[in-house]
Amino acid sequence: MKVTQAWHGIPGTTIFDGVQARKGYALNKMCYSFNSAENRAAFLADEDAYCAKFGLTPEQREAVRERNVLKLIAAGGNVYYLAKLAGIFHLDVQDLGAQQTGMTKEAFKAKLVEQGR
């Protein structure tokens, strides 16, 4: 696992600091809007238009299109807001964990259980 933020040096970890908060503002604002069922429906009805309304950067738009969690985080996304985007696709935090670690969901869940032994 590589270190992406030199200031803390924890591998595979992006702490949502001021740099990320500024970079990810538009993306996170869009995700925050998904607390509303009406907004979730509007996103599903016309994803391009909805993303454009929030002024996503090309990097953010691409990450949303690919449903790629690591890219969403690299683009400034915060996992608490991203969870609201993931919820639209009925993905839970274990789906997200599996995708980010390149594991199947079953293998990811087994790894969690293993850590309790």
């Binding site: 803390h8 970890t13 949502f16 001021g18 915060n78 969870a83 919820g87 259980v113 309790g116």
Partner: protein
């Protein structure tokens, strides 16, 4: 004078809310987790709190990055849960205690904690899930509430030591509250877990168990950890342990562990529960006799 009956610290994983709604208490995955809670409820029945003062963290229901308070104290007559975007069922509204809220706010600001005060405040799963675990199957909550939100979304977060001192100041404020009410302190979140990054799924049982052990009798030993230390040891979202430190800080007397439970995993999280009784210093014997 208000009586601080004790503190309960517990995980608040959203999936618990779903499991409660679907009545999965006896499901093999959930049973070991839910089995931890009856002793907490038995203690609560004896402790009879009138008010809950709860330290929790909002996950993007009430607060967004446009304005992100470090410490936010509820001062509302009522607090509502709402749609969080990914499907957790909402629960009944909670009655506030604005007089106590303002008393706490005044005391905390006098002690130089510069707060955000909230006369309207939505509360998310971090508040509602623990309440549902402690008071299941109620039509109306049997307690009034004072929610205190601590920022763990946007770094820098208040340090573990600062959160502990916030709790201590809340404890002093409660002791100075000139009403005959019984107060339970709640701290929600943790224990170790990480949702994001290639390190997602990180759990640290040894660190969690050390924290649960030390929190009761020597919490100051845990306040030497920095935010980054806790993230390294307990995962990014394991930093929610500061809520446990704040709750422990609010206990002003002699603290006894009544009950503890720990289970891996619930969702991506190591789930912990700790029940601590607060016994007024020098009065433990008279209380035991009563």
């Amino acid at each position: 004078m208000a009586t601080i009956v004790g503190a309960i610290t517990t995980s608040h994983v959203p999936a618990i809310g779903g499991a409660i709604a679907k009545k999965l208490h006896q499901d093999p995955y959930w049973q070991p987790f839910f089995a931890g809670y009856p002793p907490a409820r038995e203690w609560l029945a004896k402790a009879r709190p009138d008010v809950v003062v709860a330290f929790y963290n909002d996950h993007g229901l009430q607060f967004f990055l446009d304005k992100m308070p470090t410490f936010a104290v509820g001062a509302a007559p009522e607090y509502r849960h709402a749609d969080e975007g990914w499907g957790i069922p909402t629960v009944a509204p909670f009655r506030g205690d604005p007089e106590l809220s303002w008393h706490v706010i005044e005391r905390l600001i006098a002690e130089e904690f510069d707060l955000t005060t909230c006369q309207e405040m939505l509360v998310d799963h971090a508040f509602t899930v623990p309440m549902s675990l402690l008071w299941p199957d109620v039509d109306a909550w049997p307690v009034r509430v004072v929610p205190i939100a601590i920022n763990t979304v946007q770094y820098p977060f208040p340090s573990p030591a600062r959160c502990f001192r916030l709790g201590q100041a809340v404890g002093r404020a409660l002791e100075a509250w000139d009403r005959d009410v019984r107060v339970l302190v709640l701290g929600t979140g943790g224990l170790s877990h990480q949702l994001d990054g290639e390190r997602a799924g990180f759990i640290n049982k040894a660190f969690d168990q050390m924290c649960m052990e030390k929190l009761v009798a020597e919490p100051e030993a845990l306040t030497r950890y920095s935010t980054v230390d806790i993230i390294r040891e307990a995962g990014v979202q394991g930093v929610e342990f500061v809520m446990w430190l704040a709750a422990r800080g609010a206990l002003t007397g002699t603290v006894a562990r009544v009950h503890a439970s720990y289970h891996i995993p619930i969702s991506n999280t190591a789930a912990g529960l700790l029940v601590m009784e607060n016994r007024p210093r020098g009065a433990a014997e008279s209380r035991a006799a009563a």
